[in-house]
Amino acid sequence: MLLINCPFCGPRNHTEFDYGSDASVLRPADDAPESEWFAYVYLRSNPKGAHTEYWQHALGCRSWIKVKRDTLTHDIAGVSLANALAQREQQ
């Protein structure tokens, strides 16, 4: 069982959360070339190790969060709000 530290609710079992997707994949501009859209929709770096990913606290506060997790050991290195980060990244 993963223990995910929700910024609002504190540490909770991962069964309260829904997995979103790889958070390193960023949506290209609407007029970006097709190859960028192809990469966005299909390609994943799929690392064996550190991975940033979205989860939603579906059975809790329902907020979307960004989790840094190791895909081999399941160690969680950090949790932050998806929204605030997403905004900062767009700037």
């Binding site: 790889d22 929709v41 994943r44 990913e53 997790r69 081999l72």
Partner: protein
């Protein structure tokens, strides 16, 4: 040594001390014509068919652990060809045909048992979908039968098909030629047969880098040193992304964990394979009497090859719906394997941007049943530097060109099938 009734009898008289190892453990040569990375069923089958059907002489299979220690030895061994889409249907039915003669072909008993695979339907919509799939299968020349409630009850008497359950059993789609096999025997059988044709099987040999020169593969770097190769094929289930990265490209694949469980052994209670339609769960009974059960993925990327409780809990809840008596049984073992989940749920057997480098992966939940056909077409692809008719559709650039093979119709998510 050919296995036969006579060899068994002869060895019985010498107290079974005369059996020879089924394959050798040579030191790596400096160069091979073809190296297959990954000593699971797929890699070993590929080496076997390369030697047997394409006359390739100088072949090695390199395996980082022991052969069959990956998903080949971790799966629940369901074999079927009940697919809707033509590309899948033709490929998997060719596989099923190869299963039917595998024990004779390899002179090794893989205990293939065609006890049928029955998919239960619990809603009208599901019934329609299954009947449609059954029709598509028959058009492709594959056996399929729709069983109504009463016929299901007769076939699986211990199934709770009463009015009471939350998800009543309306009927089920049966493929009689489907069934199960002994997983280890498949790896061992192909290894022995390949070795008899001169294939080197190199265990404890991990590929850590792919060497290339002007766009062409030159060999592999391993923990036992560099081994040169004219061609390299990878069949490393769960680690295909890793090997592709070594070769310099990225795939539409994520690695996810799939788990399985077995109960304590009991007397024969179920003589087919039953899949639940209202949740992801299926069950069969092994020859030893254990109930073999499988469920869902974890749904988050994982390379952690071990089980965990949430999925076990979900699967046993499904099991209780179908077979309430299961509440009295103890679980004996529980494990996991790492799956290559592709973005359309179908495999990739393909040439790659790197010349003379080929991939066979993306098997998602269901590559055990594909083992013989996968080896068969992958060997063809390597020998001819060109896909076989049966795997032309499984090329890696299908995603780019909008020709995905999306059996589930769920779009680009890495958790179908």
């Amino acid at each position: 040594m050919k296995y036969s009734f006579l060899s068994l009898a002869r060895n019985a008289f010498s107290h079974h001390r005369g059996w020879m190892p089924a394959w050798d453990s040579p030191v790596p040569k400096r160069h091979y014509d073809v190296i297959i990375v990954g000593g699971g069923g797929h890699g070993l089958a590929t080496a076997y068919y390369l030697a047997k059907l394409h006359g390739v002489k100088n072949i090695a299979v390199v395996e980082k652990g022991w052969i069959g220690g990956g998903n080949t030895g971790r799966n629940t061994t369901l074999i079927r060809s009940n697919y809707l889409l033509d590309t899948n249907a033709r490929f998997y039915d060719w596989s099923l045909k190869l299963w039917e003669t595998m024990s004779q072909e390899l002179n090794y008993n893989v205990m293939f048992s065609q006890r049928g695979v029955l998919n239960l339907a619990h809603t009208d919509a599901q019934q329609d979908a299954y009947i449609r799939r059954g029709n598509a299968m028959r058009i492709n020349g594959i056996d399929a039968e729709w069983l109504d409630h009463k016929q299901v009850e007769e076939m699986v008497p211990l199934l709770d098909s009463s009015e009471r359950p939350r998800y009543p059993v309306i009927g089920g789609l049966l493929q009689k030629r489907g069934g199960v096999a002994r997983h280890d025997a498949v790896a061992w059988g192909y290894a022995r047969a390949a070795n008899a044709l001169g294939v080197d099987i190199l265990q404890n040999c991990e590929c850590i880098a792919i060497k290339q020169e002007s766009g062409k593969v030159r060999g592999i770097e391993t923990n036992q040193g560099f081994i040169g190769a004219g061609q390299v094929g990878i069949a490393v289930a769960g680690h295909t992304s890793q090997l592709a990265r070594m070769a310099g490209f990225t795939l539409p694949i994520e690695s996810h964990l799939l788990q399985a469980f077995v109960s304590e052994p009991v007397k024969p209670i179920i003589n087919t394979v039953v899949t639940y339609g209202a949740g992801h769960f299926y069950m069969s009974q092994s020859d030893k009497g254990e109930l073999v059960m499988g469920g869902d993925l974890d749904f988050y990327n994982s390379y952690a090859q071990r089980g965990n409780m949430p999925v076990l809990e979900h699967a046993t809840a499904c099991a209780m719906q179908m077979f309430p008596f299961i509440s009295r049984l103890r679980m004996m073992r529980h494990w996991g394997g790492i799956m290559d989940m592709t973005m359309d749920g179908s495999p990739i057997i393909s040439k790659t941007p790197l010349q003379n480098f080929y991939i066979d992966g993306g098997w998602c939940y269901g590559g055990f049943k594909a083992t013989p056909a996968s080896g068969w077409v992958f060997a063809h692809t390597i020998a001819h530097d060109e896909p076989h008719e049966l795997n032309r559709g499984f090329n890696m650039d299908r995603f780019e060109h909008g020709r995905t093979i999306d059996e589930k119709g769920s779009g680009p998510i890495p958790n179908a099938q």
